[in-house]
Structure formats: C-alpha cells, structure tokens
C-alpha cells in the first residue's frame, strides 16, 4: 500500500503545476494572480515549518521570521555580494540553489542556538525568549552596513519563480510529512502531549525539541531566501515580530498540528487579504460610499475572529487530507 500512496502528493503537485502554467501561458491567469500564488507557496513553507515547532512539538516560538531573515540575508549576500550573479549568468541557477541552501543551513544553526533555551523554558516563557531572539536578529541586520543596514539588501537577482518556489514547497511538505509520520514524529507529538511522561517512557525530549527547532528554522531560512529572490530585496522590518504573528495566525487558523491545515490557511489568508482589495473597491464603486483601502484590514480582522469562533479548532483541526497522509489511518 505504502508505495502506492507515496506519489499521490507528487501527482497532485504536478497537476497543480501544469494547470497553473497552462492558465498563465494562455493569459487566463495574469501575473498578479501568479504573484499571489508564489507568495502563498512561500507562506506554505513558513507555516508548515512553524507548525513543526509549535503545532507538532508543542513549543511556542514567536520569532519564526527571524529564521527567515537569516536565510534571506545569507542567501542574498551570497548571490548578490559574493557571486554578483544575474538571471543571465551561466551558472546563475546553480549558485542560486547553493545560496538558498546555505541560507537554510545558516538559519538551522541559529535554530540550534535558539533551541537550547527550550530545554529550560516552557510555554510563554519560551515565547518571550524566541521573540527576543527574533528582535536581536533584526537589530543585527539593521546595524551591518555591508548588507545595507536600514536601507535593506538591494539588487538581489530575481531567481525565485513559480517553478523554483513550488519545488521548494513540495520538498518541505514531503520532508515534514515523512518526519511527522516517522517514529521521530511520534516522539515529537509525545513531547507536545506531556513532556514529563514522554521522558519517563524513554523519549529523549531534549533531542526532539532541538531537532524541531533546527528543521523548522532550516525551512524558514529557505523560505526567506526565496522571498528575497522574489522581491529582489531583503529589509530588516520584513522579519520582525508582527510578521512572525502573521505566520502564527496561519498555523492556528489552519489547525494546530495539521500540515494540510497550514497549507490551506497559507493560501486562504493570502488570497483573502488580496481579494479584499478588489471586494472593497467593488463595494465602494457600487454604493458610492467613501471607503478605500483603509477598510480592508478591518474586514480581514473581523473575518479572522469569525473563523476562530465558528471553527474553533482551526479549519482542519488536527486532521490531515488523504493526499498528505502517508499511511491509511484506521
């Protein structure tokens, strides 16, 4: 059975990829929609990787975008300042992939450092420490003139596109899904449910907590690198506390611990926020009310409250779509 189930996600991803490419090629989808899809996919990586830390292992990180920032700055520095590549460079794509992976590894190292306090701290105390780390990372970027300081790291070549981003998102989903369904994943769930009990039955809780931070940070770093090569810049304010909260919303709105939920929420909330632009304008045009873009976030925040009131466990709860599941659950 297992061999048959494995490629289902791959087939789905390929169909999705081809469909979007065809729609875009025939100009049914414009560049704007494609841009939102790209952004959503990057948020999928961020949300799923944060879900590994917060949802599956039950730690509380408030500094996830700090990891993304490390990935963005390290990969951006490599591609822009060290190799000075541009999209027409002969080995550009290879260097880009190398830069993104090094960015992810650098973020993983930071994740390893931040994982340590989690050995001593729990719950909200840990949240504060991760928040503090995130802010320290931001202060550091703000003060290194080599990477632009408050001007930001500019002129990053645009290597991220639909293809590279969807490949990265697919790999993230597969790796984290496989991890969760492995014995390591069971151990992580045990840490979430009851750390002391897990310890008593022989789970090395230290190892699994640090592992969750390292792997989560690695993928966040990848997402940060992709973001930098999509926007062609990296700026310290993109990686602050408020941005981390945005990702947090996605995992809880999607359902804690559900990879499917995080994925759906990343798409739904990104599209919602953009759809409201058009929705508000349509209402303003139809009714003649003097309302503009300033009301978009008012509606967004109200919808967020309603989602949580009516789907209290998030969109998916802890369930996974059949597509994501590796094994059949009885």
């Amino acid at each position: 059975m297992k061999q048959l189930k494995l490629p289902k996600l791959l087939i789905f991803a390929l169909i999705f990829y081809s469909a979007i490419q065809i729609l875009y090629g025939t100009e049914i989808l414009n560049g704007y929609i494609l841009h939102i899809i790209n952004q959503s996919l990057i948020y999928v990586i961020l949300a799923v990787s944060l879900n590994l830390i917060n949802g599956i292992t039950g730690q509380f990180s408030l500094g996830h975008m700090g990891f993304a920032g490390v990935g963005a700055y390290v990969s951006g520095t490599i591609s822009t300042l060290v190799f000075k590549i541009n999209p027409s460079s002969p080995n550009g794509m290879l260097i880009f992939i190398f830069a993104i992976i090094v960015g992810g590894l650098a973020a993983a190292v930071v994740g390893f450092l931040i994982g340590f306090p989690s050995l001593r701290l729990k719950g909200d105390y840990l949240a504060i420490v991760t928040l503090g780390f995130g802010e320290i990372i931001r202060t550091v970027f703000n003060n290194i003139d080599y990477v632009g300081g408050p001007r930001g790291l500019l002129g990053i070549p645009k290597f991220s596109n639909f293809t590279t981003i969807i490949v990265a998102a697919f790999i993230t989903l597969v790796v984290i899904r496989n991890l969760v369904e492995s014995s390591h994943g069971r151990a992580m769930l045990a840490v979430r449910e009851n750390e002391l009990a897990a310890e008593l039955v022989g789970v090395n809780t230290t190892r699994y907590k640090v592992m969750a931070f390292v792997i989560g940070a690695f993928f966040a770093g990848i997402a940060g690198g992709l973001f930098a090569h999509l926007l062609q810049m990296a700026h310290p304010t993109q990686f602050g506390f408020i941005k981390s909260v945005e990702v947090l919303i996605m995992i809880y709105a999607g359902g804690v611990g559900s990879i499917t939920g995080s994925t759906i929420a990343a798409f739904a909330l990104t599209f919602l926020s953009e759809g409201l632009r058009i929705g508000i304008r349509a209402i303003a045009d139809a009714t003649g009310l003097p309302i503009g873009g300033e009301w978009r976030m008012v509606v967004y925040s109200l919808l967020l409250i309603f989602i949580m009131l009516f789907k209290t466990e998030g969109l998916m709860g802890t369930k996974e779509a059949k597509l994501i599941r590796l094994k059949e659950v009885q």
């Binding site: 504060i128 780390f133 202060t139 408020i242 947090l248 009301w295 925040s301």
Partner: protein
C-alpha cells in the same frame, strides 16, 4: 561612562519603567487568571488615551480653571473606555472559546487587536494621523541638582505603586480576590465550589482593561502624542514585563517593568544603535537564570 550611568539616566529609566508598569499591572492580572496572551491589551491602553482626549475636548469648556475636576473626568473616561471594551472583547471574542484550545483565543486576541487599530485608523473621526495630547495638568520640571525630573514622572511612579498595592490587597484580602485565585488555579474545582467563573473573569477583564485605559491617559500626558497604533509596542513590553516578573504575579510585573525600563535606558545610553538588541539579550539571560520569571513559583509538573 559619566553619560551612561548617572542620576539622570536612572530617572529616565524609572520613567520608562513606570509606564510599562502601569500597562503590565492590568495585563498580568488577566494573564494570571485566564492565561491568555491578550494581544489586545495594548489597544485598550490606546482606547483609554483616545477617550481621555475626547473627554478633554468635550468638557474643557465646562471646567475652565478647575484642573483637578478635569483630571478626574478624563481619568474616568479613560478607565471606562478601557474597561468596557475589555469586557466586550471578553464576552464576544474570548468567552465562546474558553474551553477550547487556548491558542484559538490567542488568534481571536490578535484579531481583536488588529480590528481596534485598523477600525479607529479607518474611522474618519479618528483617523491614522498623530494627535497632540493636551496638557491636562501643568508640566513642572524639578531640578535635583544632577538630574531633572518632571512632575509627570512622579505622578506615574506614585500611581503605579498605589495600583500595585491596591491590586495585591484586592487579590489577597477580598472574597473576590480569593475567587480570582481559585479560578486561576483550577477552573473546575472553583466551579464545584460554587464560584461563578464567568463573573469573576468578566470582573478581571473590567479591572484589567480600566487599568490599561488609565495607563493610556498617563502615557498620553507624559508623551503628548497619540495615534491608533500607539499600543503595539507598549502592549508587547507589558507582556514581556509580566512574563519576566512571573506569570500572574503582580509585584513581579511591576518589578519586571522597571527592569525593562532601566535595561532599555542604560542599553540605549551605552550604544543607542544596538540598544534594543542589548535589552532583549539581558531579558533572555534573566529568563535563562530564572525560567519561571523573577518572582514566579516553581510548580511541579503533573502527568
């Protein structure tokens, strides 16, 4: 080093800390009882400042020359605004999720916070622009020789101290306080003992919100500039102060707030370019040494 560690910098740090303390008091109270990271607390603070601003211009003509009465009216306005909105937020956005995973109400708290900020900012009557806050009490600078202290700093410190003592007494000595402690420790047992949990929680939000409103008024007077987004940073700092002091511990929150204020001041004076980073590093070190906060108690893990 003369410009970094001197009497003036201590006064500066105490001033920053006392504003944090005022917000953290209400925060830690709600936090101790419902264990909700109430992201909207900073926005109750902001509403308090706006209500005081509105009340001042509504009643200014009525109370010309009666500074004391005016100050009392704006204080009531700010506390009522913070308290009522906190009560409403609890009723509409937090109560329905009381027995659901605690993180669901965290998201509604973020939603409430965003809503209050964006709504006021979009509302033409308020708008996103900065408004200058009127001098409700005359501003007096007192020269202490090697430091200058404003009367506002003294007012902030005194009010923070009074509120801290008052709250501690409320929780330690009154029946309501006893009920609050019971709810905080074990909701189910408290209910079995005949305590109306929802009433206690609502009351907690009312007090916590009105404290935030009063803090908004004092911050508006001390730093005379208000804007709908003014609560984000102080709300975050209050959260940090509450955790640093030990969750739900009232003197701890005040202590945490003053430590934050002093750490930020000295760090900025030492190197203003990385001051914020240093302050956070101090915070992390403190928490690593005292993982349950400064005054938090060690609670045994249950299986």
């Amino acid at each position: 080093m003369g410009a970094i560690f001197n009497a003036q910098q201590i006064v500066n740090g105490l001033q920053v800390g006392s504003i944090y303390a005022l917000i953290a008091l209400g925060y830690t109270m709600v936090y101790g009882i419902v264990r909700l990271i109430n992201f909207a607390h900073g926005d109750f603070y902001m509403l308090g400042a706006y209500a005081a601003y509105g009340a001042f211009f509504a009643f200014n003509a009525l109370f010309v020359g009666k500074t004391g009465l005016m100050a009392f009216v704006v204080l009531i306005a700010s506390m009522a605004a913070g308290g009522v909105i906190a009560l409403l937020a609890n009723r509409l956005a937090y109560k329905p999720l009381r027995y659901k995973p605690k993180l669901s109400s965290l998201i509604t708290a973020i939603g409430v916070s965003m809503f209050l900020e964006y709504f006021l900012s979009a509302l033409p009557a308020v708008g996103p622009s900065y408004r200058s806050f009127p001098d409700i009490l005359p501003r007096v600078n007192i020269n202490l020789g090697n430091a200058v202290i404003s009367n506002y700093v003294i007012i902030d410190i005194v009010i923070a101290a009074v509120l801290m003592v008052g709250l501690t007494l409320l929780i330690k000595k009154t029946t309501l306080g006893k009920a609050m402690r019971a709810v905080s420790q074990d909701k189910d047992a408290a209910r079995l003992m005949g305590i109306d949990i929802e009433k206690v929680i609502a009351f907690t939000f009312l007090i916590g919100g009105s404290f935030a409103g009063a803090a908004g008024l004092l911050a508006g007077m001390t730093y005379p500039r208000i804007v709908p987004y003014m609560g984000i940073q102080p709300g975050l700092k209050a959260f940090i102060a509450a955790v640093l002091g030990g969750i739900g511990n009232i003197p701890g929150a005040v202590l945490g707030a003053y430590i934050m204020g002093l750490a930020e001041t000295f760090a900025s004076a030492y190197n203003s370019l990385i001051g914020e980073g240093i302050a956070f590093a101090i915070l992390i070190i403190v928490l690593l040494v005292r993982p349950r906060g400064l005054l938090g108690e060690k609670i045994a893990d249950k299986i």
